[in-house]
Symmetry: C2
Subunit: 248 residues, 2 copies
DNA sequence: CGCACCCTTGAGTCTACTCAACTCTGGTGG
DNA sequence: CCACCAGAGTTGAGTAGACTCAAGGGTGCG
């Protein structure tokens, strides 16, 4: 949600742990819910949030069934959320990059409906929700930001939902790539062409609702058609126009 | 979100128009965000909400691209929301029964991302969002309710999202029926076995991400197996256990 | 009565799944 | 330094579930 400033030591520590730390860019992101707050409110916000980490790859930040206390933002690293369905299969429900919020699914619920798992060495900002609600009562701007975050999340979820139906694997994959490119470029700059994937291709396939084999074949096809250069742990973007065309 | 009491005339009018009006039962629903408010706050809530209708079947309550001003609750009738995807195809994103909220997708967004369309003669409660936010600042309870509503919506969206992938048509249909049974029974009583569908089967198929033909065949299969009795404009529930078993 | 619309049924096709084998990579240990 | 191993990813073959296209009911409305 925000990287708290004026905590040099912690940020340094963070940088030592996670080499690909992008947290100092987070403050510029549009979703920073503390944007526009005055000094007193920022102070209050600092008191209800804290940095946690490092989480190792595969380590859980919270678990399905935990009672809900906090919402989170990625400071550095990457996070996936996944839920276990009734029949025991896991479903990846989201990937989160530095500056992005997660854990809002638990708001107003008896229990958190998903696990959050670090994908690499990860630092997160944990924001206690009950005090945040109280602070929102005193800060209309913060309240508005928070509602916006939730609205955006709803909007994205419905978009994903919509995308999941009646859609060829090729289009799903293209949309995923397009989305990821936008998100990573907003962190690292719009000239980036080489994209490292923090998650496994198995996770991506699960997220997209296709078999790993289908994802593999689809990426190969996009590669052969010259849109991307498919790699083991990432991809190179060759023709964003073509990807957009397939994404629709 | 709530049916305002003490407006006998409007409710009467409403009853004349929509015979299956269930709005007087809405006040008992758990999602009533005005629950627990004091008289002064209830008054303020009344001033920022208003009843609108009747909307005729097919009539739009709001349109995709409209600027966001209000959230809504169904008072009587039924509503669907649908979005048009980039390639011009429409995707039904939700059905709403009396007492249920809709339109929260627009919160914090530049434009509302979907159409809301009445499925039969429908009255809705429109709640102006900006004043609602302000009122939330003065009423921690209301604020908490609203956050809960949004959290629940996120949770449901992710659940739907999850359900859309890797799932046989039979299971999707069974889940849809199960969910609908629960919702209608919470309105009309748990002994109900006969369910009228306010939406067309084409809409249901679209919502579930299957072809209308597939939905038709699946319902016939469930009928032949004795779980339901498939009808033109509804269904009779014969074996809820079996439906639950298939739903997983 | 006839038309329109929705739903159902049938036949054929195709996408994506499953299962199985193979490759590649990074890490470990001799 | 290289051989080995485990896990992720890729490729191939065969299958099944769902889609498309097309035609045939049913029901309500003018």
């Amino acid at each position: 949600m925000q990287v708290r400033q004026g905590k040099g030591e912690k940020n340094n520590k963070l940088r030592l742990v996670a080499q690909d730390d992008s947290c100092d860019k987070c403050a510029t992101k549009r979703l920073c819910i503390t944007q526009g707050l005055d000094a007193e409110q920022l102070g209050a916000f600092d008191r209800l949030s804290r940095t946690r980490g490092p989480f190792r790859p595969g380590e859980r930040i919270f678990r399905m069934g935990d009672s809900f206390h906090s919402i989170y933002a990625v400071q550095s690293g990457a996070v996936k959320t996944e839920a276990v369905s009734d029949d025991g299969r896991t479903q990846v429900t989201g990937f989160y990059l530095p500056g992005e919020q997660f854990g809002v699914e638990g708001i107003g619920q008896a229990a958190i409906p998903c696990d959050a798992i670090a994908l690499k060495n990860t630092w997160v900002c944990e924001i206690a929700f009950k005090p945040l609600e109280e602070l929102c009562g005193r800060s209309p701007l913060l309240q508005h930001h928070l509602f916006s975050v939730l609205g955006e999340k709803i909007c994205n979820s419905e978009y994903q939902f919509m995308m999941g139906r009646n859609m060829r694997a090729e289009r799903r994959v293209a949309r995923f790539l397009k989305c990821l490119v936008l998100r990573i470029r907003s962190l690292e700059g719009s000239e980036v062409r080489q994209f490292h994937l923090p998650m496994s291709k198995e996770d991506i396939a699960n997220y997209l609702g296709v078999a790993p084999e289908t994802l593999s074949r689809t990426l190969r096809k996009l590669d052969e058609e010259g849109m991307i250069r498919n790699e083991a742990k990432g991809f190179e973007l060759l023709d964003i126009e073509a990807v957009n065309r397939i994404a629709g």
